[in-house]
Amino acid sequence: MMTETQNPMEMEPTASERTVIDAILGSAGAGNGAARTAEGLRVAVQPERPHGRDRLLPVLLALQERIGWVSPAALGEVARRLRLPYAEAYGVASFYALLHLEAASPAVVHICDDLACQQAGAGRLIEACEREWGPEGAGEGERAVAWHRSPCLGRCAEGPAVFVQRSGASSFGLGAVETPATVMQSLEEGPRPESLPFIYRTDRHPQPLTERMGRLDPTSLDAYRAAGGYSGLRRALALGREGVLRELKEARLLGRGGAAFPTAAKWEAVAKSPDLPRYVVLNADESEPGTFKDRLLLEQDPYAVLEGLTIAGWTVGASKGYIFLRGEYPLARARLETAIATLRERGYLGESVLGEPFAFDVEVRSGGGAYVCGEETALFNAIEGKRGEPRNKPPFPTVHGLFGRPTAVNNVETIANVPVILRLGAAAYTSLGTADSTGTRLFCVSGAVGRPGLFEVPFGTTLGELLQAAGGLRPGRSLKAILLGGAAGSFVGADSLDLPLSFAAVRTRGATLGSGAVIVFDDASDLREAVRRIARFFRQESCGQCVPCRVGTERQWELVERVVAGRPLTSWHEERERHRDLAAVMRDASICGLGQTAANAIESAWALGFLGEGEAVQ
């Protein structure tokens, strides 16, 4: 840390740090209100475009990538240039797991030990890495390679997964990592080419969201157009705003980000708001353990997502769309940037979209490694350069969203459905799925199945049918439990195979489809390890703002640890009571959905007998 006497504010950034900062904030001096004339006179100038605080996260991420860490001197310089208090800039930087505030190793390997990778042998990989590279995090800055345990990295069908940060080069993700040597090889020879997980194909029903995946060149606009791409936008432009809203209402599109909110109602509220400008935001921060569908949509079908976002902009009357992309998804970022550049060049984005009097452009912002930033208002704060702390609602985003403006924020899968609805028409769309849940759903199936992967099936498909499509259980194994909706979801028992996967049906079992994660556990899986991981996940991902969640997730972690260790405090009965009390206050009094759902999966584990006395299943 700091020496006793040195004020970091007075430390000078290195030349390379300055280059990185200049690349994003413009050269030093710009915006400080002063300039030198050719004669060398110092004159006052009106700053051309004063940089807003929203450049903070981009510049910190650039420093991390180019320099390998965010040094006190660099952060001080950034704060000065953005006219931000240094302490506040530090508060923001210290919020994000991907920003290192102390000198880091040239390669930092994040190893997923979350629910699916746990079952795919992450434990063995971690032991091997520990032998090879030393203890977790230790010697950071001195060793060539440092490693950390990581929450889900969105590659759950290809576990164990890792994410590698390199100083001076772009980061990358890897699936199916068996040994540290695989990582070393990628560091030396460059990351191996991206491979696709299993993508379910069938001719029994349409698969409008996945039909192009892996079959079309994801960088080619022409390929996308030849497959019917951008006919949805053309129809939207022809229908007009009201027409699009009517179509979405008739299609009964519900948000896929977890809350199942009607998209038409959200868009209508924004479209009707008198405040300008309005924004559309794509929530691409996918971090729910067990979920990887949004990553695949963005990597394999970026034009479809951008078409949907453009339709959103048109409908609500926004001329700017932001994509908040999970920081651990660099390939998705590259694919989006390529697609956006092509779309600008070809007139699909810009001052006049397809020659219409409609201006629309898109900017991609990367996250810094924080699950909570997927919560819509935390996401706004993250883009705005603040700590990713959720806001209290009301006011809702449709009134007071990004930069305090009316904002429509949607999940990637929701947005990908929009061009489909406009292309097929609401009638054809609603012929898929059930009465309450129309269309298809992307399920991310991982864990103890023969063929983990991405499954696009109509809503109402039963859990049993889904597992069948995923190759069923492995030979000789029996089903123990299924976690629906990730860490924020809940476990359902082996008797749930008849459960139709629709929003309403799942709710009757007290569960949720959530993000579409379906993690399967068989009799060889260690459910207690899974429950421990979930408790640790919430303890580490809470933003810390409100008491029920900040202290509650710590106490829940402690409780789970001692219960799993078979060392209950006082009695099993009282442990259960304690957990009920925690669950109640977290659900009732937390600010956001993170705290409100942090006890769900663990409560369901108690109910199913995976925790506590007797340990029915272990």
């Binding site: 840390m1 700091m2 006793e4 006497t5 004020n7 970091p8 504010m9 006190p72 952060l75 001080g76 704060a79 208090p85 240094y86 302490a87 506040e88 800039a89 530090y90 508060g91 210290s94 919020f95 505030l101 909570v372 700590r387 209290n392 006011p395 009134v399 640790r536 303890r539 580490q540 991902e541 809470s542 933003c543 810390g544 703002q545 409100c546 008491v547 029920p548 900040r550 202290v551 509650g552 997730t553 710590e554 106490r555 402690e558 640890e561 001692r562 260790a565 060392r567 405090l569 006082t570 009282e574 304690r578 009390d581 109640a584 206050v585 659900r587 009732d588 009094a589 600010i591 409100q596």
Partner: protein
């Protein structure tokens, strides 16, 4: 939804525990409760700061709302049905107090905090053996607390974050609610979140100007005059023997009200009442700490 600026004189009627209460438009539910004579516990709320609604001890049950709502920030709307004493409300308040007390040293917090802990039946001891702060995996049976060394790095005040409930008040007071110095911020996240200067540098190396406004708003004694801290350490701190004298700060023309807390004929700390229009409880370094010249008159060398 009620967004516009409140129109002077317009009122809204809401129901608090079944009783109709008429309050000015733009009021909060908490204000409606006060008008109805119902006490609402608060920790992160203070009348001279904008509400941050983070502690959640003030939650109430609002008909039609799935979760409880923070009464300190939620504005009244016509016809709202509010319950302040339902089992859910009592349960959440009890647990908020219990969780805070299980992690934080509340021994120097205000008397009302102890009264609420008692009244709501919080049992902070039932979470395990208190253990010093660590971010690591817990030892089974231990309840990690915020216990950590006191930061004594300047002559004027100390920071004992073992007592910090992270109510954000000091950050707000140091920032755009009063002082505009922004010397401190919330850093880290989750249970590791804490109040910090940049890279945790000592106060003299930070932007702090020692206005002490953070001390003035801190509800738990985490921020404390060095004089008070040293007397507490020596066992001589005794509020029973203290008198409080109102006076006007002699240093400049603003005219801030000072409350001089005097024990054994020495000023031991300076506060300022929140309800005075002039600066609403906020002071500068001179009013807050400039009292030493009074006491050192005898001993100061000319």
């Amino acid at each position: 939804m009620n967004r516009g600026a409140a129109v002077e004189g317009r009122t809204v009627t809401v129901s608090i525990d079944g009783r109709p209460v008429e309050v000015e438009e733009g009021s909060t539910i908490r204000e409606a409760c006060v008008a109805a004579g119902v006490e609402v516990p608060t920790l992160c709320y203070l009348e001279n700061l904008a509400p941050v609604n983070v502690c959640r001890v003030c939650v109430v049950e609002l008909e039609g709302s799935r979760a409880l709502v923070p009464s300190c920030s939620r504005k009244v709307e016509p016809g709202m049905q509010v319950r302040t004493d339902s089992p859910r409300v009592r349960q959440s308040r009890r647990m908020v107090l219990e969780l805070l007390a299980s992690a934080t040293d509340l021994s120097a917090a205000g008397e009302e905090v102890h009264r609420w802990i008692e009244a709501y039946g919080a049992e902070p001891d039932r979470w395990g053996e208190p253990a010093p702060y660590t971010a690591d995996a817990p030892t089974p049976g231990s309840a990690v607390t915020l216990e950590q060394p006191v930061k004594v790095d300047n002559p004027l005040y100390v920071r004992d974050y073992s007592r910090c409930i992270l109510c954000y008040k000091c950050v707000e007071a140091c920032g755009d609610q009063a002082q505009f110095t922004f010397a401190i911020a919330v850093a880290g996240r989750g249970f590791d979140a804490h109040i910090s200067t940049e890279y945790d540098v000592k106060l003299p190396e930070s932007a702090c100007v020692y206005c002490g406004n953070c001390i003035g708003v801190c509800p738990t004694g985490a921020l404390m005059f060095r004089s008070e801290y040293e007397m507490r350490e020596a066992g001589t701190w005794d509020p029973q023997r203290q008198t409080v004298t109102d006076t006007i700060c002699p240093y400049c023309g603003v005219g801030c009200t000072l409350e001089l807390h005097v024990q054994d004929n020495r000023i031991v700390k300076v506060t300022s009442p929140l309800d005075r229009e002039v600066t609403r409880g906020h002071l500068c370094v001179k009013g807050r700490f400039g009292f030493e010249f009074v006491q050192d008159r005898g001993s100061a060398t000319p």
